[in-house]
Symmetry: C2
Subunit: 222 residues, 2 copies
């Protein structure tokens, strides 16, 4: 098999992503692509969202991992539909993987699908999955220099979440400098500070998510 | 341009990596490929190695990042040769990138080259750079479940470093469970616990590094 490598892969992915986007619009479902380093707290952030919005939003989760079902089992234990995608060796989800996951969800019963992408600050930013909204989580333990080193992902998201705020006293993380750098890269993106451990910032995170899901639905159906 | 995608990329990379390995053997230089998530503390771990071994080992560092020169400037400030590779969009270093970096180092003057790979637990594990030794850093803040989710990298390294041990009291990291899982994946790899913040474990890390560099030199020249 011979193919024109990156150009063709990207063109095929974009076409499948457009199909996913159209399909979700027809069902009035918002889809959030949540990206972060390994261990930044993606699953915990999703679990806080479920706790805080389940009375008002009908949610499902698509879990992307190289291996294991740990995360989807944790979500299912909260009585939320969860589809696990194991990518094998691939360091990011593709639109085709998400399309297959959508086949297993009852889209008419949902307001919001949260995709937990593979833990990686590089390739996930390059692959459109058909989402309406993209978000990156930075963790205080990772250091405030990550936006310098991985500018693309911070530039291309709709919101930035700073997790593990409870570790500020124990890490050399300069919050003011972090805000300044991401403001330069992406002035339109709100930055939400959160601690899943002590629930600091949970209300703001859930309000943002609800407004995004409802706003997206209005856009999609207008 | 048409190429057979992954098979050809890997074959070319392996061939260039073999060339790097041969070249380093001729000069009696050990090369360590250091891999980890973004923000696991790779640069700090390297700086501890420089402080602890510079009297006995002649070191250089190759810094791999998507963007920025922050890390190589920090290493150069310690009077250690540092070559920055900015990969643009690529989420891992390749043997060809390292070959170019080696052109800029005086190999006869060195005992050890430490490569700081791009922050990523997936693709760096697939690309041989011509190193003699591979190592992964896990950070306490990332959680103890990372070996389940990224088994390949934990399986294929010669040693595992657990960094940010000072955060154990502030994170839900089960150290015993972590040891048990990595022991199952990779029984031969030593696990070194470290805190760059309070220098816990620095002696063990530097002793391991020195023994590895000297052992590798004996192997290379035997």
């Amino acid at each position: 098999m011979k193919i024109e490598v990156k150009k063709n892969i990207m063109a095929t992915n974009s076409s499948v992503a457009a199909g996913n986007r159209q399909r979700l619009a027809e069902h009035g479902v918002c889809m959030l692509n949540l990206m972060a380093s390994p261990g930044a707290g993606k699953t915990s952030v999703i679990m806080k969202a479920i706790e805080g919005t389940r009375d008002r939003l009908k949610l499902a989760v698509i879990e992307g991992d190289i291996a294991s079902e740990i995360d989807s089992l944790a979500i299912e234990a909260m009585d939320i539909p969860a589809i696990q995608i194991n990518t094998g060796g691939s360091c990011h989800l593709t639109a085709a993987m998400v399309s297959t996951a959508l086949d297993h969800l009852d889209l008419d019963s949902l307001d919001l699908i949260i995709i937990e992408n593979v833990g990686n600050l590089v390739c996930p930013a390059e692959f459109d999955l058909g989402e309406s909204t993209r978000m990156v989580i930075a963790s205080v333990a990772e250091g405030h220099d990550k936006p310098y080193k991985y500018p693309m992902i911070f530039r291309e998201v709709d919101a930035i979440l700073v997790n593990k705020i409870d570790l500020l006293a124990h890490c050399d993380f300069d919050l003011a400098q972090f805000h300044q750098v991401v403001q330069g890269l992406n002035p339109a993106a709100p930055v939400i500070e959160l601690s899943c451990r002590d629930s600091y910032g949970t209300d703001e995170w859930c309000q943002w998510l609800e407004a995004t899901a409802i706003g997206s639905r209005l856009d999609l159906t207008s």
